[in-house]
Amino acid sequence: MVGEMTREDRRTWLDTRARAPWHGFRLWLLSFPTMIVVTWMNTAVSLISIGVGIPMIPSAAKLQRRMTNVYRDRIGAWTGRPIERPYLPHTKGSFATMTRAQRCFMRAVSDPATWRDYSFLMCEPIVAIFTCALPFLLIVYGVWGWMLSLWAGAVLGDIGAQDWYAMIPISQDYTQQPERVVGTAVLGTLFIAVGFLIGPAMLDYHARWARWLLGPTEKAKLALRVQHLTETRHDAVDVSAAELRRIERDLHDGAQARLVAMGMSLGAIEHLLDKDPEKARLLLAETRASSAKALAELRDLVRGIHPPVLADRGVGDAVKALALDHPLPVEVTVELPGRPEAPVESAVYFAICEMLTNAAKHSGARRVWVELTHNDGTLRATVTDDGQGGASLEAGTGLRGVERRIGTFDGVLALSSPPGGPTIVTLEVPCDLRTTSHP
């Protein structure tokens, strides 16, 4: 099998085997702080009955979480499959009638993750020896075999020690028996080889054990999902309420006010028609101009709510139309075989709108590239500019708002903007495409 590998494959194959025993050993080293944490938790639990444990439990649980989070992060980094945090969110209003200390205690003990953490930490030092630490220990033992056969065997023999290397006795006449010396070296080599070979598998077994206790249970996953949904629903309601307020204000100050003024002008014209036709004609022209302005304002308002090209053609052409109106040269690549649901389409469109505005306003870019693709049930939009970079989600660039807006559809946003550029904003929204056009 190794023979069929390319050079690149072989290098990664060797690389993972070389690293795994070391990673496993480092995980095992975590057993020492783990034992301290477990002792603390044991103490707290055993003191619950006399009341002293109650204020101790929350801090002990917190300590446990920090410890298990170290495991989660390391295992995630070394096996490439992260372990999610299972902790239930604090829901406001639960245990509301209790004192603060009682509430903290109840929160800690009512979260199953606390007890799962506890079980994990208690067993981990033993489990680690037989899983992730085993390859490293085998290698160390193998090296010891080499040392015995080279010189340590003679030293031990000289001082009259009685010892065994696996099933080979190490005694005074050790150096006089070549089959023992060679056997030790061969066994040592074997142990080292096995240690390196089983390294990744052992790391994986250990990760499975850790995931079983440290990962979220189905129930915790649901609870976390509910929390996410509650948050994003809240955001969505906020956003649409603010949007409605803006529309109401725009209509009130704009078109509505103009129509009122036009009505008044028309009344005046009616009045003037016989007395002063010249003045009436003047007012009439003004009124017509006013009606044109009212139309223009309504047009802008509608464009802000739902741009016509978006409604007609979908997000691809709408972004192309946006690019044409943009002050910078924008290159748009669209590979969408259909159209997403209208709300998703609209959210993605306005997100890209915001990013293009940022590119023009803040980045000092000279060119912008927009890419829209759909793969494996995910719509991906990437906006790249060649500006000076250094953008952040916090700096009031409106990206937080974009994140919240697409969060309603379980979309995520990633920003890469090193100082000196380029800035790349990627957003992904899970959605299906429909091939038929919107009604």
Binding site: L295, D317, D325
Partner: protein, 214 residues
């Protein structure tokens, strides 16, 4: 002059019919949806068509699609497209074949009957009538770049009016100067933009639009 009219709002359709008839046009057909529009365009082969972008049954850019399809079959079929909004993207698509006979105006422009009828006639004659809003956005986008930045403000003004499809005489009238002054301006503009000078009004306009649409 025979006109095919497509507009789904009955009130507006009747208004347009009476306005066009009052100015001596003959209405060959007045339709209210995309499929019958394309049939009317191909059956009647009108001298000019006046078409609303948004039409049933889909209420998207059905009118625009019908017009583009008809012009693929009858190249150069003069069409004036009306819309509640003007979009550069659609303007580009209409102008893409480079044969002229295209108008693209905001519906508001109907308020000014004289100008609107003038636009219809210009399109029927194979000219262009682009909405000032399309042109000003096109120009605004390009003016930052050379060589448009080298035009004087007056020349920019002339360029915008020219891109809308106006003749030298019409531009002169609008800016209250002599026609000779305008031809001097246009010569300067063509020189600065490096475009070939043409005496033909329509070809000249198309060259300017193509330049702005790059």
């Amino acid at each position: 002059m025979r006109v095919v009219l497509a507009e789904d709002l009955a009130l507006l359709r009747e208004g347009l019919v009476s306005m066009l008839e009052a100015h001596g046009f003959e209405i060959a057909a007045a339709v209210d949806n995309g499929p019958s529009l394309i049939k009317a365009l191909l059956d009647h082969r009108p001298d000019v068509a006046v078409v609303d972008v948004r039409l049933p049954p889909s209420f998207t850019d059905e009118g625009l699609q019908a017009v583009l399809e008809a012009r693929r079959q009858v190249p150069g079929l003069p069409v004036l497209v009306l819309s509640q909004y003007v979009e550069q993207l659609y303007a580009r698509e209409l102008l893409a074949d480079g044969t002229g006979g295209i108008g693209y105006l905001l519906k508001d422009r109907v308020f000014d009957a004289a100008q609107f009828i003038d636009s219809v006639r210009r399109v029927a004659a194979g000219g262009t009538a682009m909405d000032p809003e399309v042109i000003s956005r096109l120009v605004a986008r390009t003016t930052r770049e050379e060589p448009l930045a080298r035009l004087t403000p007056r020349e920019l003004e002339v360029l915008e009016l020219m891109a809308q499809g106006r003749s030298n005489a019409a531009i002169a009238q609008q800016l209250v100067v002599t026609e000779r002054a305008i031809s001097k301006h246009t010569a300067n503009i063509f020189d600065k933009l490096g475009l070939a000078v043409s005496d033909d009004d329509n070809r000249r306009v198309l060259a300017v639009l193509a330049y702005l649409n790059r």
